[in-house]
C-alpha cells in the first residue's frame, strides 16, 4: 500500500464527486419548480396526506415514538419528537416541493409533493 497520492486515488476522488453530481443533477431535475401542494406523511404501513394550506398539528405514534408535525404558513416542520437524536426537529422547516424530513427511529417520513390529492377525511 502506497503512502502518497496516486493516479488511482485521483480516480476514486473524481468518481465520488461525479456520483454526487449525478445524484444532485437527478434530484434537481426531478424536483421541478412547482409549488408544493400537499404534505405526505408516511409511517409504518400508514400514509396520510394533508393540504399544505392547512394550519394544523398532527400527532403521530410510530415505532414507539410520538411525533408532532406542524403545518403553518405553507411550511412544515416536526415541532416535537420523543426520539433520542432529534434529527427531525433539528432539520427545521421545509417549504420546497420534494423536500422531506426523516425520523429514522420512528421510521417516519414527511414529504412535500406537488400532487393535490388529499385524504377525504383530512380536509
Amino acid at each position: 500500500m502506497k503512502i502518497r497520492l496516486t493516479k488511482a486515488d485521483i480516480v476514486i476522488y473524481i468518481s465520488v464527486v461525479l456520483l454526487s453530481l449525478v445524484i444532485l443533477g437527478f434530484f434537481t431535475l426531478s424536483f421541478k419548480k412547482e409549488e408544493p401542494e400537499s404534505v405526505k406523511i408516511k409511517y409504518g404501513e400508514t400514509e396520510v396526506t394533508y393540504p399544505i394550506s392547512d394550519e394544523r398539528k398532527i400527532e403521530i405514534n410510530s415505532n414507539g415514538i410520538s411525533l408532532t408535525v406542524k403545518i403553518e404558513n405553507e411550511k412544515v416542520c416536526v415541532a416535537d419528537s420523543s426520539c433520542p437524536d432529534k434529527c427531525c426537529v433539528k432539520k427545521g422547516e421545509i417549504s420546497e416541493c420534494g423536500e422531506s424530513i426523516v425520523c429514522l427511529p420512528a421510521r417516519c417520513t414527511v414529504t412535500l409533493t406537488g400532487e393535490g390529492e388529499f385524504d377525504a377525511n383530512a380536509g
Binding site: 434530484f27 426523516v102 414529504t111
Partner: protein, 172 residues
C-alpha cells in the same frame, strides 16, 4: 503462539479505540457545523483500517463488526444496528476492493475515501429500503463531498499509524 496473542491484543485495543471514538463522535458530532442529520467524522475507520492493513484482512472485518455490534448494544438501538451494519459492510467491501483489485495502485488516502463514500452509500441505501422512500438518496449529494474530506483526514492518519515503529514490529 506469541504472535497470535499479539494480534489478539492489538485487535482488542483497536476495538476499544473504535468504540471510544464512535462514542465521542455521537456526542460531539459534525452536525454542529454542517446541518445535515447523521453526518459523522468517521474516525473509527482509522482503527478498522489499522486492523485491516496492520494485522490482517479478517481482523479488520472482525473489529468492524464488533464495533457495530457493541456500539449498538451500549449506546444505540436495533434500528441503528442495521444501519451501521450496512454501512460497515459496504466500507469493508471497499477495503477488500482496494486491497485486491487496486493492490499496489492505490494509497491509504484513496482507500479511506472509498471506504467513507461506501459507508455513506450503505447507510443511505439501508434507510431508503427500510423507510421505502427513495428521496433520502438526495442526502448522498451532500454526504459524499463531506466523505471526501473526512476520508482524506482518516487516510493521512492511517498512513502515519502504519508507518510507525510499533506497527512495524507487529508484522512478521
Amino acid at each position: 503462539m506469541q504472535m497470535r496473542v499479539k494480534m489478539l491484543c492489538t485487535d482488542a485495543m483497536l476495538l476499544c479505540c473504535a468504540l471510544l471514538i464512535s462514542y465521542v463522535e455521537s456526542i460531539v458530532s459534525l452536525e454542529l457545523m454542517i446541518p445535515v442529520p447523521g453526518i459523522r467524522l468517521g474516525f473509527a475507520n482509522i482503527a478498522i483500517m489499522t486492523a485491516f492493513f496492520g494485522v490482517g484482512r479478517l481482523h479488520g472485518g472482525a473489529v468492524s463488526f464488533c464495533r457495530v455490534f457493541f456500539s449498538a448494544l451500549i449506546f444505540g438501538s436495533v434500528t441503528s444496528f442495521w444501519f451501521s451494519l450496512c454501512g460497515a459492510l459496504c466500507a469493508y467491501l471497499g477495503l477488500l476492493f482496494c486491497d485486491t483489485v487496486l493492490k499496489g495502485k492505490v494509497s491509504y488516502i484513496g482507500t479511506s475515501v472509498l471506504c467513507a463514500a461506501m459507508h455513506c452509500v450503505g447507510q443511505i441505501g439501508a434507510c431508503a429500503v427500510i423507510l421505502g422512500n427513495i428521496g433520502i438518496v438526495y442526502y448522498l449529494a451532500i454526504m459524499l463531498p463531506v466523505s471526501l474530506i473526512t476520508g482524506t483526514l482518516n487516510g493521512i492518519a492511517v498512513a502515519r499509524i502504519l508507518k510507525s515503529k510499533m506497527m512495524v514490529k507487529l508484522k512478521r
